[in-house]
Amino acid sequence: MPIAADILEALRLELRRGTLILAVLGTLRAEQYGYSLKTRLAEAGVDIDEGALYPMLRRLESQGLLVSEWREEGKRQKRFYRLSADGAGALEQLTAEWRAMNAALNSIIEGGRT
């Protein structure tokens, strides 16, 4: 019996949730405002819903991983985000974790095929 689409979608979202934070933190090593960050992520192949991106940015900022400031650019006030010192440390640790997990998962998935 094929797996129901909504179950698959829920699993996919669960899988993506943690990786999106890593993608956002990684992109914000260079300063970005909301829309440019979304565009950068999309160009890299990471699609993120704007409605989810902004609350995530606020949460990461409240956790001290990002810093932000309002600035005028192109005659418009924009909020620019960048990685804080704590954020850079967290990104380093999360990247190491990701690589280790990726290697382990690859080994499991590839091992299962043989």
Binding site: Y35, G51, Y54, R58, Q77, R79
Partner: protein, 334 residues
């Protein structure tokens, strides 16, 4: 920024904690501006109202967007929560309105009106609490059985967003009190409720005040105004945001009210005074001047307030029409 985006931002802001609302909506405005700019660049023209509505629909219902900024767990989840209190207010408001009418009728028919009112007050608390419990239970069941995000997204249309910035939504308390006085006035006007009309002048002398015959000329228009006012205030309890229909009701009401006052002012005096035993002709003359003067000031002030409010409501209608004009421009672009 289009009217639709402003209405959307106002709807989101209303659902956010006051402390962070301005900051979040400023960022949301920036995000929507950037998205709409990109859309305009893609189309080679400003997006139409339908296209702006499409962008807002994709962004999410105001309740859902606001809920994403809330990280807490609730018995009623953050998606349904913005509907919870309006639903409670409406349900309890309707119950209270029914009780006010029933209590008034029961008090009028009773030998002991005070006791009848107290008995009803006791019951209305029970019914109010019961209504609160039932509405809460319905929300908890929907929260547990349905997908609130899907539900919220499916039942909203960006074009139906209220024009909250045209007039602040009326509070339930304000509408409830107004409705209470409307019902009281209707009962008085139809003689179902009588107030003491004897005015003491000095020791042993008093006069009875009654409305002059000019009021009988405007009996039906005044009754119609009373009923229209009660209907409008009941409407406010159910739909507190500004709407063209509600505004049209106000315009008709104030214009008719001013017409009625004009007729009444032509037929002065407003009242008649009947002497009671021990009252001299001078007392009678003095009482008539006093009470008629009070009516003149009160009705004159009322006419002034209605005329100003009529002007404000006309201004709101013009403002709402001007805000809708981009629709016509967008249609012309297509």
């Amino acid at each position: 920024m289009t009217d639709l985006v402003e209405r959307y931002l106002a709807s989101v802001e209303r659902r956010l904690p006051e402390k962070t609302a301005k900051d979040i909506t400023a960022e949301l405005r920036e995000a929507l501006e950037a998205t709409l700019d990109a859309k305009a660049a893609e189309l080679g023209r400003p997006p139409s109202t339908d296209e702006v509505a499409g962008v807002l629909k994709a962004y999410g219902a105001p309740a859902v967007v606001a809920a994403r900024y809330e990280g807490r767990m609730h018995l009623i989840g953050p998606v349904l929560y913005p509907w919870f209190w309006p639903a409670q207010r409406t349900a309890i408001g309707v119950i209270v309105a029914i009780f006010v009418v029933l209590t008034a009728i029961r008090a009028l028919a009773s030998d002991n009106p005070v006791q009848a009112v107290l008995q009803s007050a006791d019951k209305v608390i029970g019914w109010g609490l019961g209504t609160f419990a039932v509405v809460t239970l319905v929300f908890v069941l929907v929260e547990r059985t349905a997908d609130p995000v899907k539900l919220a997204e499916s039942c909203w249309d960006p074009k139906s967003l209220p024009r909250e910035h045209i007039r602040k939504p009326k509070s339930l308390f304000e509408s409830g009190v107004s409705l209470f006085f409307d019902v009281l006035f209707i009962l008085f006007w139809t003689s179902l409720l009588k107030f003491p009309n004897e005015l003491p002048l000095r020791e042993g002398a008093s006069v009875a005040i009654t409305l002059s015959p000019v009021w009988s000329v405007v009996y039906w228009p005044v009754l119609a105004l009373g009923v229209l006012s009660a209907a409008a205030h009941l409407f406010d309890m159910l739909r507190p945001a500004w709407s063209r229909l509600r505004s049209a009701m106000s315009l008709v009401g104030y214009a008719t009210g001013l017409g009625v006052l004009w007729v009444v002012f032509q037929g002065r005096p407003f009242v008649e005074v009947q002497p009671q035993p021990g009252t001299s002709p001078e007392d009678l003359e003095r009482a008539l001047r006093l009470v008629d003067g009070v009516f003149l000031v009160a009705l004159g002030f009322g006419a002034l307030v209605w005329a100003i409010t009529l002007g404000v409501e006309v201004h709101r209608q013009i403002k709402a029409t001007r805000m809708s004009l981009p629709d016509a421009r967008a249609a012309a672009c297509r």
